[in-house]
Amino acid sequence: MYYLLPSKWRWVLLLAASYFFYGYWKVEFLSLIVFSTVLDYFLAQKIHSSQNQWARRIFLLCSIAGNLGVLFIFKYLVLFLPEVDPMMVNVAASESPIMGTIKHAIHFSIPVGISFYTFQTMSYTIDVFFKRINPEKHLGRFAVFVSFFPQLVAGPIERFSHLQPQLKSAAKFGYSNLQNAFRLMLYGFFLKMCIADNLSPISDLVFDDPGLYGSGATLTGVLAFGFQIYADFAGYSLIAQGAALALGIHLIDNFKTPYWSKNISEFWHRWHISLSTWFRDYLYIPLGGNRVKQWRWAINIMLVFTISGFWHGANWTFLIWGGIHGALFLFERYGEKIVPLRTNSNRFIQGSRILKTFLLVQLAWIFFRSRSTEKSLTILKNIFRGETAESLSIEPVVLLLFAIFFVSDVILYNKRFDRWIDKFQWPLRWSIYAVLIFCILAFAGHFNHPFIYFQF
């Protein structure tokens, strides 16, 4: 249908599809995305047309305050409110639907994708302010940029200059786009359904009751989460890229085999790339980047990492997680000044650096996944205690799936699946498709686990 429509009307279909997609979960939360859209549309026009620098700053502040305000109310306010019995909120919802819905949202359900689309629209108004882009004159087309359904709920966070020209262009149907879209989505579903969903029960066991398990089991649970979140989020990003590519739209790569990074800095160039570049461009660089004094630079780094940690959720453990990454980043940078690392290190040293970074990232995930610092510290203690208590049993099928995933991650180092598989002849290509399809249909996890990043 998309390709049959004249290009000037495609935005209507995309907008309708995107709003239907978002509203299908909870129609009342559509009002938030419409609010963000209308707010930033008009403020960007004002910023662009205003000659007065103070007025432009005020309009920009209004945009930032409006978007962060919505984010604060629906995501972070609960941190400062007392705990509420879910049933009492249900009672409130029955007596007053509007207030009940708001109470329910504040306490129990964050509007899906709110952290993503608010940041996406903020980047737009900030870019208009700095005159990097001209504002979009067409409200409908701007609304499509904000709500484009493949990347609406969990990114990648796109920039206006990258996405909008594609949304406006008269993209023709391309067979190779469709082919690559299928490949990306297939591999994405394999990562999410076969790897992430099968690892989640293992990590849940350990994180829900850390006191029960010994060192080996605890470490297994922690590693299981590390791969779960990677497969979950990278899988979603690939599915989003595939869905967009089917419409002729290229979204940015969000993951580039991050667990093969040699240091924390490289990790953040490979993990959730759209978020890390957002914080680099809209927080780190405006704070001065690395063009300030050393002490100020270190504070900037810690600030950016802790805020990006906090972006993930309304819990102090996310702050700690971000802070850990900031501290590790600084430690490595200062460490390199004391002991410079040779760029042509031998394979053993490279491998050690990869392993070191991997283990540090996994230990940091403990704070990301645990909902309390007490549980996080219990898990850390369990890992290093050396005791053998309750053990975990893992099904052979899960181990086999993980082995397939591990090998594919090695093979796909710095490659994308759709481009990598393209070089093979059709019998091998289709054999790989068949294996992935069979794994998805026969071995996908069956517990109730939504995409992890949907909660952000």
């Binding site: 029955s94 469709l178 068949a434 399809i437 996908a444 069956h446």
Partner: protein, 353 residues
Amino acid sequence: MSVRKQATIKIVIRLAALALILLVCNWTYTRYFWKSDLDKHAEMLLELLEIQDTSDVLYFGESSNFSYNPEKDSLQDRISDFISYHYPDLNFGTINSSAYHMGIYLPLVKQITSERVKTIIVTLNLRTFDQAAIHSELESALQKKACMYEPRPPLVNRALMSLKLYDHTPAIERSRKMWEEWTYDTLKSDSFSFPAPTIKRWCELTKFPDSNGVENIEKRQLADHYIKAYAFIIDEENPRLKDMDALAKVAHDKGINLVFNLLAENTEYADSLVGPNLVHLMRQNANFLIRRFRDPKVMVVNNLELVPGWDYTDQKWTTEHYSQYGRQIIAKNVAEQMQIFLGAEYFVAQDIK
């Protein structure tokens, strides 16, 4: 050939290849992995497949069938066993699992393919029609099993289960709906006059003050529980009734006799706690079911008031768990009424103890 035509041909070929892959995947899964998945997620289907070819009668039951009183019972035989003693020349197979209801039996019955099965007995209790049962927090887990029980290609069931294409409403949402229905749904009937307009109000009106006016909390809680369990009128919108209709149709299409075993409830205790209104309502609902399912090949066996109050293993709460006597008289009643279908095979079994 135009580019569009070339692309169309490519797509058609690839879709055909995909269809072939799916067929091979389904065959591979069914051959090598299906049984272990059934064992993990849908054990009753595995049991049905194993016993149907050697059974003349299949009994679908839940905990009422196999619960017994360890202090009083000399026999721990199940209701289905006691029924089978009345038909010694017929093989009885039993599918038993706690908390199952009509909606879960339905896909299992659809899976009966054996020509040998001529009659099925399906247990039901009145409580299965109430809000607590319909919105039970167990329902999501049961619907997951029902997804695997459906008569579809096994790989399709496995995939649908992974994609959670079944009713997996969260427990909090279910309890919200239950609370709303108790609070706001109006109790109304042309044939019955309710003491209060809603269940919540009926519970509030039911009080147990002692001589000093102090409320007996335990009795009050039990009375609330009984009202919530039985205060409803079964109507066409009730999902359990729809399941019963669907089950009757499936049995009819397969040429199988269908017996609904309406289990006994502790009406004596209900009367003492809440009063004759509630018991009258229970009888009315039972009679509705008996009238509705009266067909040459379908019947409802009414055991509602058959078991005396002292026989229940749980003397207070609403469970359909009976001691030996209760299980035997229910079985005798079902067996006697089944003569309509299996008359020639009937045998008067030993006296009830």
